[in-house]
């Protein structure tokens, strides 16, 4: 699919908003992969590709608990990259590659969040004297600079992801069997991630029974479809 400069720009703006939403600003959950992917699909003129990529990476995101200082992947900009790989292509043959690109970008996003946190800590140390003096303006400056740093991080991550998606489309040509095998592998791994995460959260209490009940009802619904 040919991406025009305007669409490219809108994808980077969307990726920046999505990256900011993950931690720094609002947390309205536009950073969830199926939301990020759905909107990216609309921007690319292929909403279904966005949903296919987004739902796949959402399965992986369900495995993540963003608690405390834990290091976790950034799936929002990653889903935008995956959607670009998938847009305009037969999904059965491209979902494996799209998912792989998305997972790699999400790992890079997790690393970039660590760097951002270190940079924020250095900024806080530089302003330690002003903070100890009760300078409200220093708090505001730190806050706005932190958000700006995250915006730059998110925009760069989206741009790198889009470049990776473009490179993969251009240079990675897989034969049909390999492409299908990769698609099946990422679907299976995604289901494992979602169920594994749910099992971990459920522990041994009644929640596990409700998870089992959900699986049974879901399997029954799927059988009737």
């Amino acid at each position: 699919m040919i991406v025009t400069p305007l669409v490219l720009l809108s994808l980077i703006v969307w990726g920046t908003l999505v990256g900011l939403d993950l931690v720094s600003v609002a947390q309205t959950m536009i950073a969830r992969p199926f939301v990020a992917g759905g909107v990216a699909g609309v921007l690319l003129g292929d909403p279904m590709a966005g949903l296919r990529a987004g739902v796949l990476l959402e399965l992986f995101a369900l495995d993540v608990l963003p608690v405390g200082a834990a290091r976790y992947p950034d799936y929002g900009p990653a889903t935008i990259a995956a959607t670009v790989v998938l847009a305009g292509a037969p999904w059965e043959l491209s979902l494996g590659l799209a998912g792989t690109i998305g997972l790699l970008v999400s790992v890079l996003g997790g690393w970039s969040l660590q760097q951002l946190r270190r940079m924020n800590a250095e900024a806080v140390q530089r302003h330690a004297a002003a903070l100890a003096a009760g300078d409200s303006a220093a708090i505001r400056r730190l806050q706005y600079a932190g958000i700006l740093r995250d915006a730059v991080r998110s925009a760069l991550l989206t741009a790198v992801g889009l470049a990776g998606a473009w490179g993969a489309q251009r240079w990675l040509t897989l034969d049909r069997r390999t492409a299908v095998a990769l698609t099946l592998v990422v679907i299976g791994a995604g289901l494992a991630a979602a169920i594994g995460g749910a099992l971990r959260s459920a522990g041994r209490g009644p929640r596990r029974n409700w998870l089992a009940a959900g699986l049974v009802v879901g399997a029954a619904v799927a059988a009737f479809l």
Binding site: Q27, L131, A193, G196, R207, G214
Partner: protein, 244 residues
Amino acid sequence: MNGTGRALLRLFSVQGVWNYERMLGVGVGYAAEPLLEDLKAKDPVRHSEAVVRSAEFFNCNPNLAGLAVGATVRAEYDSAPGPQIARLRTALCSPLGALGDQLFWAGLLPALVGAALVVVVLGGGLWGIIGFLVAYNIVHVWTASWSLRTGLAAGMGVGAAIGSSWVPRSIPRVGLAAGFAVGLAAPIVANWYLDPFGRLSVVAVLLVAALGVVSGRLFGPRMTGGRFALVAVLLTLVCRLILR
């Protein structure tokens, strides 16, 4: 806009400068700033001390940070001793972290995501996304507002206010809904993807999924879903290269 309104808006960027030094501390100080403005005219020295305290180390789930912001600001206006306010902040970190994580990250979020995925793959498409965003953010914004109001009203008694509130009571129910919703979504999403493939492919996907769950149980947090997927993709590519 009054101080409470501005503080509420600022709570939505409480993690804006999240770092390993003070974690949420500076963000909490940023959110508390509009509420502390009146103290400046009354007692400038106390105001300066309050600003210092407000930006010290703090960590909790961001959705419940309003309770800490409100309670500590109220305590400053009530002229509670500084060390007592510092102890209150320290004491609030763990419960607000644990309650918020269970309520939002392990409860409400997976419950709504699971339901939204079912709507999306059953043909609801983008409506599933819109419904999810609206439902989540109604709770998200209401909780932030409730947290700040409750903290401001309770002050040093915020612990008791949290204990008798809806938060601890709702966690088990939301957790059950989350378990059911994710369980419901998994087979329906699998069917959505596997519809065009043959039975052998379905068996292969189920095998990969089973292997992924087992490896997650065996290796623990080191083998996340994403890592398992990347290892599986790599092995698939190597196998395909050898078989060629």
